[in-house]
């Protein structure tokens, strides 16, 4: 998996040098895209039966139809149950990064995008009714409430964008995520991280969005 990560990074950065020469005579600033996530917002509550909600939007700047510095922001909350406890968490997240258009023809709004992101999330979370004890002496429960937690991760993204009407476009991103703050254990461990998903070393996620070019 790590080898795949390095290969993707190399492929993502390779067009940078080519594009700089190719677009030396083109206007640099080509507009701003506003994207509203639809897929994740609908999909997460559906998949989790209403226990997870995640909403996000993105802003990117079109530079020479080639580079897209991107800022993504959102909010998520989760109420999850497992055999030995219940987790409640809610907080915001942000990702910054860069997308590159991977197509040769770059005049239209139709694009194949690859990119990288750095993400961070901050949340308040509680882990309640955590079972403690053994079968002989009996069980009791304890609560870890009102904890604050921050996490960070990196992402490799790939996506498609197509024009649907005038300045409107739609598309999707698939994201491969690598959690940087994985070392923390104990009661502060969050079961769900806004913008990342379930706390695992790596994760995939998906966004389906509608966008508008300002």
């Amino acid at each position: 998996m790590r080898r795949l990560f390095y290969i993707l990074v190399v492929f993502a950065l390779l067009p940078l040098t080519l594009a700089a020469r190719e677009y030396a005579d083109t206007a640099i600033f080509q507009g701003i895209n506003l994207k509203l996530d639809l897929g994740n917002s609908a999909f997460e509550p559906l998949r989790s039966r209403g226990k997870i909600q995640s909403y996000e939007m993105a802003l990117n700047t079109d530079i020479m139809h080639r580079f897209f510095p991107t800022l993504e922001m959102g909010y998520a909350q989760a109420e999850l149950s497992a055999a030995s406890g219940n987790f409640i968490g809610y907080g915001g997240f942000a990702r910054v990064g860069l997308d590159l258009s991977a197509l040769k023809k770059r005049r239209s709004m139709n694009m194949l995008l690859v990119g990288l992101r750095i993400g961070t999330a901050m949340q308040g979370c509680s882990t309640k009714d955590v079972i403690i004890g053994n079968s002989y002496w009996g069980y009791s429960t304890i609560n870890y409430v009102d904890r604050f937690r921050a996490d960070a991760w990196g992402e490799i993204t790939a996506g498609v964008q197509v024009q649907v009407y005038k300045n409107f476009h739609m598309g999707w991103y698939i994201r491969y995520k690598i959690l940087f703050s994985r070392g923390r254990t104990g009661a502060l461990t969050a079961y769900y991280i806004p913008g990342y998903g379930y706390k695992q070393d790596t994760a995939f996620s998906f966004n389906y969005y509608i966008g508008f070019k300002l």
């Binding site: 497992a82 002496w137 870890y144 695992q200 995939f204």
Partner: protein, 161 residues
């Protein structure tokens, strides 16, 4: 081509989901492992003989149910400790004698995961016993976590055997 990708691929991706395991797969047997021995009459120079007890019953003080009920030929017993108290006491009955074993311990609560809950690890601070069956006790490993190791050696009075 791009438009097809835009519409078709997301539908297939919606079927993907990666939820973490909700079943606890971490070993959660936590307790004190006690091995039986007979003290050598030659002192520490000869190795300690591990002894088997013909028949043994063990019950926690404050609990009516037996952990071991006339179990035959045991050379060790495994006893869970209290998580709500720093003293766990057991009544050990064998060879027509009953002794009370007192284990003093610290409890350390460790949150493992939502699936596993909290494990309480222990550190033995002291041990004591009455001396009808038990001659003496030695702490081998004071730390008790979720892996098996010998924690206490219980020397039996030789005149009972």
């Amino acid at each position: 081509m791009l438009k097809r990708l835009c519409y078709i691929l997301p539908l297939s991706l919606l079927l993907l989901s990666c939820e973490p395991d909700t079943e606890c797969r971490t070993a959660n047997n936590i307790g004190v492992q006690i091995v039986f021995a007979i003290d050598s009459l030659q002192g520490d120079t000869l190795p300690v003989r591990v002894s088997q007890i013909d028949s043994i019953s063990v019950r926690g003080i404050g609990n009516d149910s037996l952990l071991y009920d006339n179990q035959k030929r045991l050379s060790s017993i495994f006893l869970p400790l209290r998580t709500d108290n720093n003293l766990t006491a057991y009544a050990i009955q064998a060879y027509d004698a009953t002794d009370t074993l007192y284990i003093y311990h610290d409890n350390n609560v460790n949150f493992i995961s939502l699936a596993c809950g909290c494990f309480v690890f222990h550190t033995i601070t002291n041990v004591d016993a009455t001396h009808r069956l038990i001659d003496s006790l030695t702490i081998l490993n004071a730390t008790i976590e979720n892996y098996k190791q010998d924690n206490l050696r219980l020397y039996l009075s030789t005149y009972r055997l």
